[in-house]
């Protein structure tokens, strides 16, 4: 690239755009489908059901401990497909770039997307770039959309219709790492910490559980809104309730400390690599064992169960033995974390 910073012309569709696309995007994302460089990506699919999802990423700052906006944009969309019971296949990537962004920064983000795509085993097959006047967006916004094939046996997973009293609730690790890592990276706070975002593509971990798919009654990734919101949604307007034990929920020490300091509840702090599973009681131990063998499931724990009491409500037994209701997050604990 001749220019060291992004100019308005890089989004014009002309020569500068072409240079940006070939020297940054195609160079890092390159794959047989993208390389055709048509107006649309064309690919064949097997018979079955498709899962399709989209998400936009506006995290501030764009680099934070453990990840960056690029990794997040790939993993976030891969995870939405994965918890829907789909095998993620292809992603699109739309970039909205603020005039004046350093090309080197953009390239770092694109590299990170390419690395995560490779790790997750997916292709980025189509994309778009727009450049807006300085001040009209904050450095870089990314949208990704993704398609995947729903794995046989998972067609009804998202409806949650197989959830029943007695089912156990599992999470693959400690909560709140992402939200607090982003928070600690905001320099106005001047907090030094060792926190790392948990941002990761979960399809590998979830694939490991396929042998038990008939026992997996529901999956959801706990992102914005945190674990608390997922649990409250899980039983909202349903004929069953949720019982959770605060003591069973893994929270890293650094996250606990920072939450205490800032007055946040870890239950509502964002994650980017956490999946909540509702599984049949009989298979719980085997599923937890398999999860713990995987690098992203080492801290997997059973945190509660589905109950026939208090339908529609999630009850939390607090660490001191008191009881309270866990509701969906109202308002935002933190803005622009993903």
């Amino acid at each position: 690239m001749k220019s060291k910073t992004i100019l308005l012309g890089h989004g014009s569709g002309g020569r500068l755009s072409h240079e940006l696309i070939t020297s940054i995007f195609v160079r890092h994302f390159g794959n047989p489908i993208l390389n055709q460089q048509g107006d649309a990506a064309v690919f064949a699919i097997e018979q079955g059901a498709l899962a399709f999802t989209t998400d936009s990423y506006v995290v501030d700052p764009i680099f934070f401990p453990g990840a960056d906006i690029g990794k997040l944009a790939v993993a976030g969309t891969v995870n939405d497909l994965s918890v829907s019971g789909a095998q993620p296949l292809y992603l699109s990537a739309g970039f909205i770039i603020e005039e004046g962004l350093e090309v080197a920064l953009l390239e770092k983000v694109v590299e990170s997307m390419a690395t995560e795509a490779k790790k997750a085993g997916i292709y980025i097959v189509t994309g778009d770039t727009k450049v807006v006047d300085r001040g009209k967006c904050d450095k870089l916004f990314i949208n990704t959309a993704g398609v995947g094939m729903v794995k046989p046996g998972y067609e009804q997973l998202q409806s949650g219709k197989f959830i029943q009293p007695g089912d156990k609730i599992i999470i693959n690790g400690a909560i709140g790492d992402h939200g607090m890592a982003v928070m600690s990276a905001r320099n106005q706070l001047n907090i030094q910490s060792q926190l790392q975002s948990d941002c990761a593509s979960l399809n590998g971990l979830i694939n490991e559980l396929d042998q038990h798919r008939e026992h997996i009654h529901f999956m959801r990734d706990a992102t914005r809104g945190g674990l608390g919101t997922v649990l409250a949604e899980l039983c909202d307007k349903r004929p069953f309730g949720v019982n959770i034990e605060e003591e069973a929920i893994p929270v890293h020490e650094g996250v606990r400390g920072m939450c205490e300091l800032l007055g946040f509840d870890p239950l509502y702090v964002a994650n980017e690599g956490k999946v909540v599973l509702v599984v049949g009681a009989a298979a719980t131990d085997q599923i937890v064992d398999i999860m713990r063998m995987h690098p992203l499931g080492k801290e997997a724990f059973v945190i509660g169960e589905i109950s026939q009491d208090h339908p529609g409500k999630c009850w939390l037994q607090t660490a001191i033995g008191g009881n309270r209701i866990v509701d969906m997050l109202a308002g935002e604990q933190l803005p622009r974390i993903c």
């Binding site: 205490e260 607090t318 001191i320 008191g322 309270r324 209701i325 109202a330």
Partner: protein
């Protein structure tokens, strides 16, 4: 976590609950006058552990909640002035004024910045010498020493474009006013952080004149339950007194350095409290000596007439006469994402705490 885990120990909690159960014979309403306590009590589900004889009620302990709507309206009016930067703690930004909020003004183009400390506001003043930087000073003795220090620092640094719009208040007057108003309470859970600054003697008259116990409490479950136990003991033995449970932070004489700074910059004045009206000598006004840093003396604005919302019972909740759920708007027209009253906005507000941590 050190200094936290030992105060969340289940065995200690259960032992305290057992003692409270044994000692408590007569019905007793205990009021907490600190938003931090309200939050802790709800978050840990403490009411579900207490015997039916003991009821915990929230009082006027949330600074944002007791601040008048007229104050918000005036802050909004300042934000509309040219070349003014408003700096504020985050929880004030969504509090409804009569027709707008600081949040809405910010979206409409006003320069309003959230700061975590008054020092950040001073930095902003340093880098924007041509603009007037207003710091919204609200809160009790937990935040007022910060404002005093900020003013003294601004004077030393010659930052004359900096000023504080003070709605700082002190705690004892509303505690007395509630008893005078006949609110049914038998003891106060004294505010932990306020008392770190003020010490415990400011509450002596509550025990002496009104015959009500005050126990200054920490913020962890063991702290709160131990304080409740101390209040139950006082009440059952008819020996009201001012005691400190939170001894690891509070000394009877308080923080003399901070108190001297407050005395240097502020003087007491009559002030308006939501739910309680005007209480004599309950507010903190910036002394004439520091009028260069007093927004009200430095900036002239026309403020729209204040309009209170119909149906919101914030004031009654702050007096402990109603629980948040008694309000018709609670959880329906009024939620943390779309608040009608201040008590639903602040993290420390009773309505927000009850909404977020509803008890089973």
């Amino acid at each position: 976590m050190k200094y936290i885990d030992e105060y969340r120990d289940k065995a200690k909690v259960l032992a305290l609950v057992e003692q409270i159960n044994q000692l408590s014979k007569h019905p007793m309403r205990i009021m907490e006058v600190c938003g931090g306590h309200t939050m802790a009590i709800q978050r840990f589900g403490i009411p579900s552990l207490l015997p039916p004889t003991i009821e915990l009620v929230s009082g006027p302990g949330c600074p944002v909640c007791v601040t008048s709507r007229a104050y918000i309206d005036q802050a909004i009016a300042y934000s509309r002035l040219p070349n003014v930067i408003i700096t504020t703690y985050g929880d004030l930004i969504r509090v409804p004024g009569s027709t707008s909020t600081l949040d809405k003004e910010k979206a409409a183009g006003a320069d309003i910045r959230i700061v975590y400390s008054i020092l950040d506001a001073l930095e902003i003043a340093k880098h924007n010498r041509r603009k007037k930087v207003v710091f919204l000073g609200i809160g009790f003795e937990t935040t007022s020493p910060g404002s005093a220090a900020g003013i003294l620092k601004a004077e030393m640094a010659g930052l004359f474009n900096f000023s504080v719009y003070s709605a700082h208040k002190i705690m004892p007057p509303p505690m007395a006013a509630l008893i005078d108003a006949g609110v049914n309470i038998q003891g106060y859970l004294g505010p932990g952080h306020v008392s770190t600054i003020t010490g415990s003697h400011i509450y002596d008259f509550i025990a002496e004149k009104y015959g009500l116990g005050v126990v200054i409490s920490g913020f962890e479950p063991v702290d709160v339950l131990q304080s409740v136990l101390m209040l139950v003991k006082q009440y059952e033995n008819r020996r009201p007194a001012v005691e400190i449970q939170y001894t690891r932070a509070v000394k009877p004489e308080g923080n003399t350095k901070a108190l001297a700074m407050l005395d240097e910059v502020f003087e007491l004045s009559d002030d308006w409290w939501r739910g309680l009206g005007v209480l004599p000598r309950s507010g903190m006004k910036i002394k004439e000596k520091y009028s260069r840093f007093d927004t009200e003396k430095q900036l002239e604005v026309t403020v729209e007439p204040t309009r209170e919302d119909r149906g919101c019972i914030c004031g009654t909740v702050l007096k402990g006469l109603a629980k948040p759920a008694d309000c018709k708007l609670f959880g329906k027209a009024c939620t943390p994402s779309d608040p009608v009253g201040a008590c639903m906005v602040s993290n420390e507000g009773a309505c927000a705490a009850y909404y977020r941590y509803r008890q089973v």
